[in-house]
Symmetry: C2
Subunit: 340 residues, 2 copies
Amino acid sequence: MSEITNIALDAMGGDNAPAEMVKGAVDAAGKEPAMKVFLIGREEAVKRELAKYQYNKAQIEVIHASEVIETAEPPVNAIRKKKDSSIVTGMKMVREGRADAFVSAGSSGAILVGGQVLVGRIKGVERPPLASLIPTKKGVSLLLDCGANVDARASHLVQFAKMGSIYMEHVLGVKKPSVGIVNIGAEEEKGNALVKETFPLLKEEKDIHFTGSVEAREIPHGQTDVVVCEAFAGNIILKLYEGVGAVLISKVKEGLMSTLRSKIGAVLIKPALKATLKTFDASEYGGAPLLGLNGLVVKTHGSAKAKEVSNTLIQCVTFKRQKINEKIRECIQADTVSVE
Amino acid sequence: MSEITNIALDAMGGDNAPAEMVKGAVDAAGKEPAMKVFLIGREEAVKRELAKYQYNKAQIEVIHASEVIETAEPPVNAIRKKKDSSIVTGMKMVREGRADAFVSAGSSGAILVGGQVLVGRIKGVERPPLASLIPTKKGVSLLLDCGANVDARASHLVQFAKMGSIYMEHVLGVKKPSVGIVNIGAEEEKGNALVKETFPLLKEEKDIHFTGSVEAREIPHGQTDVVVCEAFAGNIILKLYEGVGAVLISKVKEGLMSTLRSKIGAVLIKPALKATLKTFDASEYGGAPLLGLNGLVVKTHGSAKAKEVSNTLIQCVTFKRQKINEKIRECIQADTVSVE
């Protein structure tokens, strides 16, 4: 039997906690026998949800944490003060090796700060980026950094490119993933100061398959497998994806409801349209890992439902089986040695 | 009769030149009698197109320019070397007061450089931003800077906010336009170094109606009338808007063609869907002006067709009638004086 992956799941984080978190855990455990989920949160509330399901008792355990960090709380303060929160408890389990991964739909700020402070970085990793899978015309690309480190330096972006390549190759199974840097023109001489400094460094890297600049227009077309950028830009890309998608879909619906003729048509197209649009739905692809930590921390959407939670938990198993962190450690440290 | 607005139109710029440029000029001249269009480009080619239409000869004149600046050419060099290009000729006409505005679908780089070097800035304007109207759920917002000045400073962003407010109020007729700064969180303490420095400056400004941060997710919902950001971010927003829109629409079409049932439905919904999606099409809103120049320079999409060209030409008339440049001059110079 495979080695068990132990995952601490924040049962209290996100808009749909604890119900959808618990449901996601039960679902994932049913699909993956080599997984144990620790549901962390207010014991009574979590157990009440859990009682609704049939599941293998050996695979799910509730761990009590009395506090909850709210989204609006200043993260550094929250991590320091709320020692018995689900986020702090789960992160400590990863630090102490009692869990391989921590998954949360809670406060992004607290997860980013906690990942660095409580779980800690792999030696040699300068900044752990938030890496998000985004849907494209061709399938999916990995966008990083999506919001962990604003005002990053060129050396950080180079590490993002390496860690992103490892993730795409070994978690998603993409052979020789192509890497692009987000830029405002296709030519090498274009860009802001950071991109101009980073471009030649990426070109020199032998571990990655750098293909040059990616204009934002080309990202949804899936021009490269790994899309590297600074966190301010990455966060804009991620959020705008959601925003434009949501508004456009609502426009389509408005159009469908505008005439009697179109209403009849709408009934006919609904199932086919739903199936196609599902492939362009970010929640299908699980949460966003913070790469480069001593353990795995994954942030799911605040609005995550059971399906996203379940997909994320299963991704954590792949992450462990594929020894992603060992590969990151080797790659980053080989580089550190060669520099010295 | 109203004062004539003289517009130099680059007949050679963009993917559909000269045909769509000429068609757009004829269309606009027919709609707006107080407009004169100078079609600048290779005389023979332009006249051949023009011969296809009926129009008031007093309103359209062809001015020969033998050279064309290509999109791939390094802009500074191109502006310096190609003295007889349509872009240089048109910009010089603005500088010399023979035209009020120059409109081009050609090389963005050459238009941005030419605007600064050949047309010149209004005294006190530090950096002229490229301002683009973007479709939203509610109507339209003005995004600036969309690509003119990467690595801008806080004082530049404050001027963008002022110039954008003037444009929205007097060209689009939005009373007391709201202004937001693009940020990666809604709270004041979030953001990168530039946003953190700019935020309090915008808060202090009495000339504008600053409402705080705008997350990228909210831009398509039309959270504010004016959306201020640095050019690297602005260019990403503009291009990603196009990219996500294009891919999503192609996904919808794919869905419609996937089953027999959906194909029948597609025939029924087509007219209604087309009408609704038109409201979300950037080309409906004309080109992007470079604000803060001694004259008006407008960049239309490289793929602009006659309709966008015509809308842009008519916008130039409004720009002149509403004395936008006088208002910008007053606003920026009042500020310069009060600082001293």
